[in-house]
Symmetry: C2
């Protein structure tokens, strides 16, 4: 059977469903969330129970699948490669501590180009106080490959599976902007290929371009939730699109969800950027991906502690599983949400 | 500057030399050994000091750079991808506990092919009692890419930098065999390309072929050293070749070394296999790589505890730094050892 027939999520399920766990006290949770949860133990028994969990997450970025060096500066790419992994660490309610970075490069890259890539990697490490602790450097027969693994610690890991009926669904920042930025960059690439003398026309779109090229993981949201004494009942980062992530939380929590179109935060620049492509901003928010915002649920009693917070918006609530996951549009009947995932096996 | 002009080791040094460490109590040692050493701590102070360290190592394997699917079965490849990372964990004197596996595949792979790859991954996890705790699955524009990160724990990490003058240099198993196996496989590939009806002639070479296709990390050596109460003063796994690894230990320990040609363990099948290629077995042992044996130093007072152990051989000793690293040949003058590393940036 061809991989593209099966799709990403069923493929992952198939490859990982019969995994045995040999260290249940140390591998608290494996495949199936933003990161694995570990509790490293020594070879001699520890008499005082540890209250610290470690989370581990990893991402593989492949040239011309995940990034296009025609328009992505290497420094931005290095930054983003780290940022997307830190986003997964924050989505576990953890503080990132270390990363490892492996790269494979073909000989068309110069040492100075790799300096630029690493400058971006180090800039992100610096901003989020993360230690670059190891890696591997090797050659590639074609293009650039970057593999980042991030490690973090938390005393209160938050998984996808804890959402309860009536919990409030919240989202940080705004959605669809990274996808809008991608459309602009792809358009300018087409123009550039047709006419290499052309200069890109990016004025008035700095926000959506930055969202695509240099996303920031939401350390500030995790900090705010801690300061306000709010423990989300479930959390995930929005890498594939809001729709897909809501389905992940609902499936893991054995619940349903309802969200309201008029509550989904979309920036005005995103509207403006997508207009020229005839793409509905709602579609970009639901299925665009790469926003790296946090989607989380809080119990109704906790919600007041974060209501009226500029960077957090309530977009709906958790329902019983039988109702499924639905969008209430501004006009018309309920629309069931559907997952996209990577459609990139081509 | 082109990457191939600079070479692997200087490139890694250049990219990682200005790394800042933000969590010195948790990131005990970063880049520069077989694995990083971590000591995960929580956000509240831990009053009883932890005696458990965690090690983290990662490897990136790229099709047609690190493996050739013309002759490497996917099941063996999966096994080896895990085994080489576990070898790095054992080389820190640690017990492997978890791995993450990321793969990028092009659409020419079938789901059944990935099943085979994962069967090998799971077989190695099963043999060494390691939990497959996470990963990433994505598409590739060309070929197969595998990134494995391995995590382990130890109360006594052994680094490269602890070798002292007069310590005995020991090596496990035998050397050069994986390189001999590679030569046989490459030869059969050339014959196969010339005449596809030809059947490979691998009889009498099962040992060297297995060493290349399905290496076993030396868990048994770590167990034996623990049972005998021997703590190596330094340790490294032999992935690039004995010569390169001795130089790593000597440089890190600010020491020199002398090894004796007639002490280097080489299997008779390796001699026999290499004869037809006019490759000196000594060259294969020193520079062939991929043996995944352990090279370590023990203090002279500890050596008696492991003398006469079938799987451990003394090959020389540590000297003062000024003498450098040298081989004493069976006939003739001292030969200085030189590093090879990956010469694969092409």
């Amino acid at each position: 059977m061809n991989i593209s027939e099966l799709g990403e999520f069923p493929l992952i399920k198939r490859l990982t469903e019969d995994i045995k766990i040999y260290h249940p006290k140390e591998t608290i949770m494996g495949v199936g969330d933003d990161a694995a949860i570990l509790a490293p133990l020594g070879t001699t028994p520890i008499t005082t129970p540890t209250t610290t969990y470690q989370v581990v997450t990893t991402d593989l970025l492949v040239e011309n699948v995940h990034f296009d060096l025609t328009y992505v500066p290497l420094r931005h790419l290095g930054y983003k490669a780290v940022a997307v992994n830190l986003s997964d660490v924050f989505a576990m309610n953890a503080t990132p501590k270390q990363i490892t970075v492996s790269i494979a490069v073909s000989s068309r890259f110069t040492v100075e180009a790799l300096d630029e890539l690493y400058a971006g990697i180090k800039l992100c490490c610096d901003k989020y106080k993360v230690d670059l602790a190891g890696g591997d450097t090797t050659s590639s027969t074609s293009g650039l490959i970057i593999s980042v693994t991030a490690l973090g610690t938390t005393e209160v890991p938050v998984k996808r599976d804890g959402a309860k009926e009536n919990d409030i669904l919240c989202v940080s920042g705004d959605l669809g902007s990274a996808y809008a930025g991608l459309q602009l960059l792809e358009k300018e690439k087409r123009h550039f290929l047709a006419n290499p003398d052309m200069q890109p026309d990016f004025k008035d779109f700095s926000y959506v371009l930055e969202r695509q090229l240099k996303p920031e993981p939401r350390a500030d949201i995790i900090k705010l939730l801690r300061e306000r004494g709010v423990r989300p009942t479930s959390m995930i980062d929005i890498s594939d699109g809001l729709s897909s992530e809501i389905l992940h939380i609902a499936t893991a929590s054995n619940a349903g969800a309802v969200i309201y179109e008029n509550k989904i935060p979309i920036d005005t620049e995103t509207y403006r950027a997508l207009e020229q492509f005839n793409i509905m901003p709602l579609t970009a928010a639901l299925n665009g991906g790469e926003d790296y915002e946090l989607l989380f649920t809080v119990s109704p009693s906790d919600y007041d502690k974060i209501a009226h917070t500029r960077e957090i918006r309530p977009i709906g609530h958790i329902t019983e599983a039988a109702t499924g996951c639905n969008l209430v549009p501004e006009n018309g009947a309920l629309i069931p949400l559907s997952a996209q995932g990577w459609q990139s096996f081509g």
